[in-house]
Symmetry: none
Subunit: 217 residues, 4 copies
DNA sequence: GATGAATGAGCATTCATTCAT
DNA sequence: GATGAATGAATGCTCATTCAT
């Protein structure tokens, strides 16, 4: 957990000094407990009592650390954003594919690895994307989306530079298209309980990208 | 309000006979009040008291009509789905454009008219799509999405028949692409409070469709 | 149903003129419905709605007939007392046994016939005797007990006159003993769910009377 | 208050750990308050609010201690049974009379002392015996009756052994007779508001026992 | 007179937050 | 600093009674 964030959150009165001084171990336990429970249920339905029990601290301590339930949520969102970003910053440092289409495909697919290594974070994100409730969660989603779009932007701009993509197309449109497909796939794969047939995630992604690259006419 | 739905909901114990027998006017008042408040806030945060006040009935009556708060929500969702469907069924009866790309574009754009004429329904749908909370809302979203995908399917299949679309592309992929872009646009247009620049809805839609139809290479 | 009682209850504002003017048939339906439901549950747990449904009248009518739920109960108790009394007044007119001990035994046993012919009344009485709740039910129990004690008194006084019973024993003590055993037997037979072995009602009654008549020394 | 009972009730989820950890003083205050109010009124008519006020705790605390109103009642019944039993177990340890008839008489009369020292418990028991309502109270009455019958059984069996009672009489009949008279006397003394003359409790008890011992012929 | 829709006072229960230890 | 007991505002739901038709 990035201590700089804790320091900043303390200034913003989201966490207290008492929380900052906690051992990293204890902070992490609280983070993990909140992640699990806010990833399972809607803000209103998550009880401080349960988070406390899961984190093996007292309800009183939780309040002492964050002042309000809402702040605990804000702290959580902050760390998840940070973890997501550092995970994918790192991914792009070690990216092995080169062609624009492949880079987009691999970026999306790499979320499978993220999910494997960060089950809690992934579930929380899904909850926020598609089943969130609390007014604050909107900001979390926007921040994650912005990060994702930023990555896509870099890939696309590089594709334009290297003449893999037509220069007459505005980058922002492509970002929107790819990001929408990404999110649409996520929803279909992880949430849609409807009768419509479940497509294979990888196959569908591959074909959709082909379509967008080649056109459908 | 379609009385057949009320009759069905009565059988399913979602509404009571007392509600069924209410004057259409009163039913509508209650529907409108629920629509407004469930469109503004999360299930847990919506108070029966406020719905009652808005609909100018007593809390006791509300309970008498629906038995439970949850049933009031279910009733509401049912009517919104019905209204959405009948609105767009009607739209397709009077559709004036012919080319596949135009048909998709017009379908999406026609939601502006839907929004103008059905502000409450539209806001409620956005709330459900992107800020819902309650477990039941998932089913609502799936139903609306399925309806939208059904429309897209018909347009696309016609496009294939008339040789406007390549025959080697599976329809389901195209549905996913167009629907995702549609939803992505909706989100960006109506919910995204992020710093990223707001794109013009119509222009963006037009360009995105062009891109998908022509390919980006 | 004795119309004189209805007239008296109207004067006492327990029932309204509207109720009095009802057809005997309808009055009886309401009586039967109240009997059934107040015999099954505690005053507070009996809903006017259910009585109305059972009697096939509207809740509004019930209120119109009695003004208050409590009055409906009072009416009911009054009729049950009356029915009980006329039933056993009649029993004593046709009594066939002569010996004091047999008369007491037969009186108690004849409640089996009362139960067979007046299931509703009998269950209601049990409910009142042992599982009542509402302050008013105390008065009902006392009235029934007084009637029963009156019968016992007559039997015992006759026994004294005819030299079947010792003259030095005060009648009131004998009444208390026999009545207590009667009620104790009723409770054990119809209500006691305890582990203690269930005794056969008739056999037990017979033996207990023998004991009291013969002494236990 | 027997702490072992509290521990057992905690296992049975009738009371919470929070309640168990309360100071004996506070536990007793709550017990006394519940005793008073459940002894005055029917379950449904007893308000948590009033118990809380009487015990000088908050309604929230009451719920924290017992979870449900019903559990508070169960706790209360448990302690009353326990208190009754230990009181009379102790009574029999110090019993001074010897003759069977006297032992029964003294046992019944000793309830006067119980009443003096345990006014709350006594009133609660009367309420449960004769004016209870709630389905659970049946179990309470049976348990108290069983305890009383157990005492009578021991006295009677000893009487048979010591040839004070005829050996040809089944003990269970005698238990029924004496217990019924006991309960009948209680009812007449403490509850009967009827017009029939009130008998003197002690005198009546004495005479009734005489009658049963000597026979009435 | 009959109906049943409308009402709202009333209550148990929930749970974030406070606070004493 | 940590704890968890104490609090009470808040809310969904019940149901006798009222009242308009």
């Amino acid at each position: 957990m990035d201590e700089n964030i804790i320091v900043r959150l303390e200034k913003e009165k989201v966490v207290t000094a008492t929380f900052r001084k906690l051992s990293p171990d204890k902070k992490d336990k609280i983070y993990k407990a909140a992640l699990k429970l806010f990833g399972e249920d809607v803000f209103e339905a998550v009880l401080l009592e349960n988070i406390a029990k899961t984190a093996k601290v007292s309800k009183g301590s939780l309040i002492q650390y964050f002042g309000f339930k809402e702040n605990l949520f804000l702290f959580l969102a902050e760390i998840v954003v940070s973890n997501y970003k550092s995970c994918f910053d790192n991914y792009f440092l070690n990216e092995s594919v080169i062609r624009t289409k492949d880079r987009i495909e691999q970026f999306v697919l790499s979320h499978k690895i993220f999910r494997k290594n960060n089950k809690g974070e992934f579930d929380f994100m899904l909850k926020m994307f598609f089943e969130n409730s609390y007014k604050l969660s909107g900001s979390f989603v926007s921040r994650i989306y912005d990060i994702q779009k930023e990555y896509l932007k870099k890939i696309i701009e590089r594709g334009v530079q290297s003449n893999q993509l037509r220069r007459d197309i505005k980058v922002q449109y492509l970002i929107l298209i790819f990001h929408s497909i990404f999110i649409g796939l996520l929803r279909e794969r992880f949430l849609d309980k409807s009768v419509s047939q479940k497509n294979d995630f990888e196959q569908t992604l591959h074909q959709c990208l082909n379509i967008v690259f080649n056109g459908i006419k």
